[in-house]
């Protein structure tokens, strides 16, 4: 065979005459993307993704069909080529309807594959479920109990009746896994790099877990007596038994992570020292100081911060709160404080909140259980003055509020009703209105205007070369544990890259999302959400035993099978989304009419979703040319073209071999083998 010489992307290549550019590039390790080419079927040329530029040729060439020529100088990644591919992908995506990922996963700050593990739970594969969860989150038993579960907020099942109980299912699977045959990840070969992690809370533990898996040696330094951070010192026992947390931390430690407690930076060891001793330092110190409502009397004995209160309880310190307690705030910490106060023996516990129940940031179940436990809610009130006697709290004067105009966030802001006050007698006041970061010992780190550590949102870098920061201590300040975990997991990838000498900033992947309406689920059978069995109120208020009793296995499996499986089965293999992320596409520019199709199952063992079809016609050609059946055909033309098996009744059974070859070649998730 005659040989010719050409250059592809600056590389001199010898190729056989008659080879296509695509083939030739592939043989030389250069991947040219294509969606409609397959070696088993004839050339087609529809997708236009494989275009390349050849010097001296005015038009772009389709690499799948263009044969190499002597002396060709080809660029497979020039600006013009990239632009062309980008537009092609944007156009394709503008008529592609489907969810790459379920709303649960998209709304999870850590991007845990909820749909994936829910399905495994439904199949009774609990260990596999945990394995999947732990790709993103190393503390599922703990987080499953305490997470305010944005996944459930987004869950589409609520368009049918109620969301899937994703968080508790996670805790269920993780508990199962902790019982026996516990999953442990494989640890990569030793890289010789050392990472110090400051703070052993959810963020620090997560960063440690993933960096250790990559083969780095990891040490966690923590100022408290035990690891766990806010999970241990901010969340009461009745929500998260420390036994559970201990087990999960022990597992993480068992990976070979060194854990050093009672180490305070700037006191026991200097920050500079750590930076010198370790290749990278991760600051995950959280936000441990309580904010206070500044009012008269806030310095009286008996006034304390919510976080401080919970911490003291966790440390089993002796605290006097009296019989009547006012908790100021409407978040989960306020609920935790109020319910803890109740368990400590307080008879009257008030929650003072400026807005109404509807605006409360605390979770509904927390509010509900607090109400059950006899907590008294004083909505539309705000502390005006804390009164005292002999320097000790004896009451609180409340300003009565009303809701005014909505603010920029859409929440109606509370306004004082002039001259209207209310007084209640209390023995102590707990201020649970927010947390702030304590950066003592980290003086070199640059802070933002709010006094919070400033870290790049894509590289997690601080102003100091080898120092990274994640979690509550950074940028926007305190948030929920899963958000800190998500940051830590993303940061671990960046830090791993950094340690190996690469800069790989985090980039939010592009995903296709479908707009849905409740009408689309009108036909779905209503299956109520599994209710978590709980301890009786009487029992609850007497002890710190866990309120939730946990799902029974059959309930968990049944609950998991309610999942609508919104995300695409093909996400991991989908070439369309892979390429979309190569070229940073913005299909919303071309937003327009989309073809609407019903998902159909005419092909017996194959489900066809034409809304995801990109008309590469590989299925049609494979059925024609490889299987030699010709069951599928293109119907109509232009924008309305679709692919259909056009058969009546049971005719299809006589034709379709159910070989599944069509689904195998589909570059997207339009075809699914059932």
């Amino acid at each position: 065979m005659e040989k010719i010489k050409l250059i592809i992307d600056g590389k001199e290549i010898e190729a056989e005459k008659g080879t296509t550019i695509l083939r030739c590039a592939k043989d030389n390790g250069i991947e040219i993307p294509t969606l409609c080419y397959h070696e088993n079927v004839a050339l087609y040329g529809a997708c236009g993704i494989c275009t390349v530029e050849a010097e001296g040729m005015p038009k772009l060439l389709r690499a799948c069909s263009q044969k190499v020529q002597e002396g060709m100088v080809i660029h497979t990644d020039s600006e013009r080529v990239k632009k062309s591919r980008k537009i092609a992908l944007e156009l394709l995506m503008s008529d592609h309807t489907g969810d790459c990922l379920g709303p649960c996963r998209l709304n999870c700050p850590a991007g845990t594959d909820c749909q994936g593990y829910i399905k495994l739970i439904a199949e009774g594969k609990f260990r596999e479920a945990v394995e999947l969860i732990k790709e993103k989150l190393p503390l599922p038993a703990s987080i499953g109990r305490v997470c305010p579960h944005p996944c459930e907020t987004a869950c589409r099942r609520q368009m049918v009746e109620e969301p899937i109980s994703i968080a508790y299912l996670k805790a269920f699977a993780a508990d199962k896994d902790l019982e026996e045959n516990t999953f442990l990840p494989e640890i990569g070969g030793n890289t010789g790099k050392k990472v110090a992690i400051i703070g052993g809370g959810p963020a620090g533990l997560t960063a440690a877990y993933f960096l250790r898996i990559k083969g780095h040696s990891v040490t966690i330094f923590d100022a408290m007596p035990q690891m766990g951070g806010m999970l241990r010192y901010g969340i009461p026992e009745y929500r998260l038994p420390k036994k559970v947390l201990d087990k999960e931390i022990a597992l993480i430690e068992s990976l070979g992570i060194e854990m050093k407690n009672n180490v305070k930076i700037g006191k026991d060891i200097s920050f500079g020292q750590l930076r010198n001793d370790f290749d990278a330092v991760v600051v995950a110190i959280g936000a441990w100081n309580s904010l206070s409502v500044r009012c008269k009397g806030d310095n009286l004995d008996g006034v304390m911060g919510g976080i401080d209160f919970l911490q003291k309880v966790a440390l089993k310190e002796n605290i006097e709160i009296g019989k009547k307690v006012a908790v100021v705030g409407g978040g989960n910490t306020a609920m935790d404080a109020a319910r803890t106060a109740r368990r400590l023996g307080a008879e009257e516990v008030y929650v003072i909140y400026r807005r109404t129940k509807n605006e409360m940031p605390a979770e509904e179940i927390e509010i509900e259980e607090a109400e059950e436990e006899g907590i008294i809610f004083k909505f539309l009130t705000n502390p005006d003055e804390i009164t005292g006697n002999n320097g000790k709290v004896n009451g609180i004067k409340l300003q009565v509020m009303e809701l005014g105009e909505p603010d920029s966030s859409g929440r109606r802001s509370p306004v004082a009703v002039e001259g209207k006050f209310e007084n209640i007698e209390v023995d102590s006041v707990i201020m649970a209105i927010g947390q702030k970061v304590n950066v003592a010992g980290f003086e070199d780190i640059e802070l933002n205007s709010k006094g919070i550590i400033s870290a790049d949102e894509r590289t997690f870098r601080t102003n100091i070369e080898n120092v990274f920061a994640v979690g509550d201590a950074t940028n926007r300040g305190a948030s929920i544990a899963i958000a800190a975990i998500g940051e830590a997991e993303k940061a671990s990838k960046v830090i791993d890259g950094y340690l190996l000498g690469m800069e790989i900033p985090y980039r939010k992947p592009f995903v296709s999302e479908k707009e849905v309406t409740p009408e689309m689920f009108a036909e779905k059978e209503k299956l109520p959400r599994a209710k978590m069995p709980v301890r009786s109120v009487e029992e609850r208020i007497k002890s710190f035993d866990e309120v939730n009793l946990g799902f029974r296995e059959e309930d968990a499996v049944r609950e998991a099978s309610r999942c609508l499986e919104c995300g695409c089965h093909d996400y991991k293999e989908c070439k369309l989304i892979e390429y979309a992320n190569w070229y940073d596409i913005h299909p919303e520019r071309f937003k327009g009419e989309k073809n609407v199709h019903e998902t159909e199952r005419k092909l017996v063992s194959i489900e066809r979703n034409n809304e995801k079809c990109i008309l590469c016609s590989l299925c049609v050609r494979t059925c024609d040319e490889v299987v030699k059946k010709g069951i599928l055909g293109l119907v109509g033309r232009g924008f309305r073209t679709t692919i259909k098996p056009e058969f009546e009744g049971n005719e299809i059974l006589n034709f379709c071999k159910e070989c599944g070859k069509c689904a195998e070649v589909c570059p997207t998730g339009a075809l699914k083998i059932l």
């Binding site: 059946k629 010709g630 069951i631 599928l632 055909g633 293109l634 119907v635 109509g636 033309r637 259909k644 098996p645 056009e646 058969f647 009546e648 009744g649 049971n650 005719e651 034709f655």
Partner: protein, 161 residues
């Protein structure tokens, strides 16, 4: 056609056409054109029959039939109004003509009046550009149309019924 829920067309009418063309490769479009001449449109059972006789699959036959605008899958009205969509017609006001037809008959492109009398079809340039705007009703071409002229033509056809 075992359990097919389609119309029962007289398939014997196709015998001559199939006899003549089915063994000539590449004749599918011709066969479909002849079939449409016979039945006025392409009923589902006819498509199936053609697929069977030409040794291909219904998916393929339908694929070809739906590609070309000439083929219809529903019976058309007694009067098929083909409204030219050419450039000259556009420049000379075919949009007004279409609007007038819609107003008069209450049908849009591709639709048939309830009485089965008229079908409106927008077609590619009829090549009578000097007479634009133009429409054809069955075999007859009407040129230099104005809304008034269209109303008159349509009412005359209606009255003739």
């Amino acid at each position: 056609m075992s359990n097919c829920n389609c119309p029962k067309s007289d398939l014997t009418l196709l015998e001559d056409v199939l006899g003549k063309y089915k063994n000539i490769p590449g004749s599918l479009i011709t066969i479909l054109q002849k079939a449409q001449e016979i039945y006025g449109y392409l009923p589902t059972d006819v498509i199936y029959h053609i697929a069977k006789e030409t040794n291909t699959t219904p998916a393929k036959v339908l694929g070809v039939a739906t590609f070309y605008t000439q083929f219809r899958f529903k019976p058309v009205g007694k009067y098929l109004i083909m409204l030219c969509q050419g450039t000259a017609c556009h420049v000379n006001g075919s949009e007004m003509i279409e609007k007038t037809i819609k107003e008069e008959l209450g049908i849009s492109d591709g639709e048939t009046t309830d009485d089965g009398l008229f079908t409106l079809k927008n077609v590619a340039c009829l090549g009578c550009c000097s007479l634009s705007p133009v429409m054809m009703i069955n075999e007859e071409t009407y040129g230099s149309l104005t809304p008034e002229k269209v109303r008159k033509i349509l009412s005359e056809l209606k009255e003739a019924e």
